[in-house]
């Protein structure tokens, strides 16, 4: 008996708790509906979806009353003290809507058919049903069925009031998750079998929609079409739309254009045109030494001789030459030789496969023979006399043919000596290069045109380029024939055009200077010149591609390597690459192309030689490149002539 009493009390307590919960829920619902109404008044009163939703609920209630069913579900009887809402909107309670749905299924379906529903909200309803349907727990289904109603409401709320979005979303969730189980059970009991009916109804509903959709796809009859296409009103609006489309079609703006993108970034970031393949370096012999000169062997195109400057370590030879094998996958030094003077320049003796020549700081010229592998010191060296050089030998060149060739050396004071490679005891001749004003020129670099052994150009400290011929009448002086003025800083690199093909470009030469520019010149035509001003620092070397007529490479003190293709772009490089790691500047000093034009070698001040692979388009070339380059040059000339005309 006491047990029964206890149970009764417990039941009573539970009922009270339930009532309190419902009360709270009702209040929430009330405030929500009020909110909803308020926003409706604020201009969205005519909103299609929400309007329909509220109306249909109200209508439903009316219909229900007519039929004699209370809109308020039977829950009311069980709840002890449900505060009957003062507002009529209270009846919009989704619970009541979903609860009453099944009972008036026939009427409701008529109602739905009547409204042509092809809206976003219906689709959402479908998907909601689908996801809930996958749940297997009966209890959960019923909860889902219940919360479906409120979700519909919430969805509409979202659509109407994007401002209050978060708030309502939050509410919807609390509805779903925090519903107390006993409460749900009650509703589940109430809904019972009804939910199946409800589902069936909705399925039917979607099927109906589908069928109407299928209907719309049915083709127009010929007659209808003709009538339509001749209807002036239709034609009028149709033509207007067509005009709009026509304008949209002709709008020639790239909406995806990115103005912040650096056009060079791609070439820099990707290994498009330049790719670091190898670094030649030797801890003992080349570490901390500046690369002072590089030369390829003509007999063995794989062999690259690199001369290195002094290092700080005492008792180490100040001048070292390492001959690297560039074909080997391994970093292999084929020969290492040295001498007791700093080496300024290096060259292979063109017609003596085994001889290696070097110009020294002291003014001496040293020769090594690579057949004598054990002998690291020079086999021969020139005397230090006034007949030869007394200043650093900055440039070496072997010119001529197999049977009549000379070895020419240039020293800083502008003295040019010709030698017989086999006899270094005294030069064949030694002459001073004089500027036009008759002063000695302080020469830095020298270059001979391909196949030419008499005329040459020399770059000077002042930025002038002097063109002269070796075999003048004067036995002691070489007079400057032409002086090219344009550079304002010390010349660091000068080279005649190298690639030979259907058009002869051997009159072209290119120069780099401390004035941050590279300039293109022609010995034939004073009007043919061009200045390339893309480098952001001192330009330290420049070299033509040995195979492509319009390609050259250049390096600057900022660590940039530029590859230019004048057939593609005369204003800027086609590829640029910054050597070394991020934020670390590598001081590049010397640049050379491999004989096949596939690699660029760059020497730095740390004793490293970096080998870069060049993309195929720069060495596998079509014959039209020559004519294209000729056109580029004539364009340059033309614009120069025009500019001159205006300056007159």
């Amino acid at each position: 008996m006491q047990n029964a009493e206890q149970r009764r009390l417990e039941l009573e307590r539970k009922k009270q708790r339930l009532a309190a919960m419902k009360d709270q829920r009702r209040k929430e619902e009330e405030s929500r509906v009020q909110n909803l109404l308020r926003t409706n008044e604020n201009g969205t009163a005519q909103n299609g979806a929400s309007h329909r939703q509220t109306l249909s609920s109200e209508q439903m209630e009316e219909i229900l009353r007519e039929v004699g069913i209370s809109a308020e579900p039977t829950i009311r009887e069980e709840s002890p003290a449900p505060p009957r809402g003062a507002h009529a909107e209270n009846h919009l309670n989704p619970m009541s809507a979903s609860a009453s749905n099944p009972r008036i299924s026939s009427l409701l379906s008529v109602d739905l058919e009547f409204s042509t529903v092809q809206t976003a909200s219906t689709d959402n309803k479908d998907s909601a049903i689908y996801s809930k349907g996958t749940q297997t727990d009966d209890e959960r289904i019923s909860v889902g069925e219940f919360s479906l109603g409120s979700q519909e409401f919430d969805y509409d709320d979202d659509m109407i009031m994007p401002v209050d979005h978060g708030q309502f979303r939050g509410r919807a969730h609390s509805h779903d998750q925090d519903s107390p189980l006993p409460y749900n059970e009650e509703i589940a009991k109430l809904l019972g079998q009804a939910k199946h009916v409800d589902k069936a109804l909705q399925r039917q509903d979607t099927e109906e929609k589908k069928s109407t959709h299928v209907q719309t796809v049915q083709p127009l009859s010929e007659e209808e079409r003709n009538r339509l296409t001749l209807d002036p009103e239709f034609l009028d609006s149709f033509n207007r739309s067509c005009k709009v489309i026509g304008r949209a079609l002709n709008e020639d703006i790239d909406i995806f254009i990115n103005y912040t993108k650096d056009p060079y970034e791609k070439a820099v970031a990707s290994d498009d045109l330049l790719h670091l393949a190898q670094v030649y370096y030797d801890e003992t012999w080349t570490a901390k030494r500046l690369v002072t000169g590089m030369a390829f062997s003509e007999h063995h195109p794989d062999l690259l001789a690199v001369s290195y400057g002094p290092c700080d370590v005492p008792n180490e030879p100040p001048g070292v030459i390492v001959v690297w094998n560039t074909k080997s996958k391994r970093i292999t030094a084929e020969f290492i030789v040295y001498c007791q003077s700093e080496i300024q320049s290096v060259a292979f003796a063109r017609f003596h496969a085994h001889l290696l020549l070097a110009g020294c700081e002291s003014g001496q010229i040293c020769v090594w023979d690579n057949r004598l592998t054990s002998r690291k010191l020079p086999i021969n060296r020139s005397p230090l006399t006034t007949q030869a050089h007394t200043q650093p030998v900055s440039c070496l060149a072997v010119v001529g043919t197999k049977n009549a060739h000379n070895f020419v050396s240039l020293s800083r004071d502008g003295r040019i000596c010709s030698w017989n490679v086999d006899n270094l005891t005294q030069p064949v001749d030694g002459k001073e290069l004089m500027t036009k004003e008759g002063k000695p020129a302080s020469a830095t670099r020298m270059s001979f045109p391909i196949g030419e052994m008499q005329t040459f150009v020399v770059g000077t400290d002042t930025g002038e380029i002097l063109a002269a011929s070796r075999n003048g009448a004067d036995p002691a002086v070489i007079k400057t024939d032409v002086c090219y003025k344009g550079h304002s800083g010390t010349l660091t690199g000068i080279e005649f055009h190298r690639a030979s093909g259907v058009v002869d470009f051997s009159h072209l030469f290119i120069s780099s200077s401390h004035d941050w520019t590279i300039k293109l010149w022609s010995t034939k035509d004073a009007n043919l010149k061009f200045s390339f001003e893309s480098h952001p620092d001192l330009v330290l070397d420049v070299a033509w591609s040995p195979v492509h007529p319009a390609v050259f490479a250049s390096i600057d003190a900022d660590g940039n390597i530029f590859v230019w293709n004048l057939n593609e772009d005369v204003e800027g490089p086609v590829a640029r690459l910054r050597a070394g790691a991020e934020g670390d500047t590598v001081y590049m000093n010397k640049l050379i192309w491999s004989a096949d034009g596939k690699h660029v070698f760059v020497g730095d001040d740390e004793g490293r030689v970096h080998m870069y692979d060049v993309r195929e388009s720069l060495y596998v070339l079509k014959s039209e490149e020559w004519n294209r380059f000729a056109r580029v040059l004539s364009d340059m000339k033309e614009s120069n002539e025009e500019a001159e005309k205006y300056n007159m």
Binding site: G48, S241, L249
Partner: protein
């Protein structure tokens, strides 16, 4: 040649135009310059998309309406001009 066909022809001759479909408000094809299968699928999906867009726009602001729909895709650009009693869809190749 009727005025209608003349307009279609002129639109067709614009650069890059790959296809034109004209449908009435119920989604029935009035005219198409592409094969019927493609027309059917394009009409079905684009009509739905257009309707949905229109609904969304109206729900955001009931005084607003969709006037032109441009879709940029990887391969082409689709322009949809909905009107009271018809919808024009133009597919433009991007190249």
């Amino acid at each position: 040649m009727s005025d209608f066909e003349e307009t279609i022809r002129r639109l067709q001759s614009e650069k890059g135009v790959a296809g034109i479909i004209v449908v009435d408000s119920a989604g029935r094809v009035i005219h198409s310059t592409i094969d019927s299968d493609a027309t059917q699928s394009h009409t079905a999906f684009l009509q739905q998309l257009c309707e949905k867009t229109k609904t969304s726009i109206r729900e955001l602001d009931s005084s607003n309406d969709l006037t032109f729909l441009r879709l940029r895709t990887k391969k082409n650009e689709i322009m949809i001009a909905p009107d009271k009693d018809h919808v024009i869809m133009v597919i433009k190749d991007l190249s």
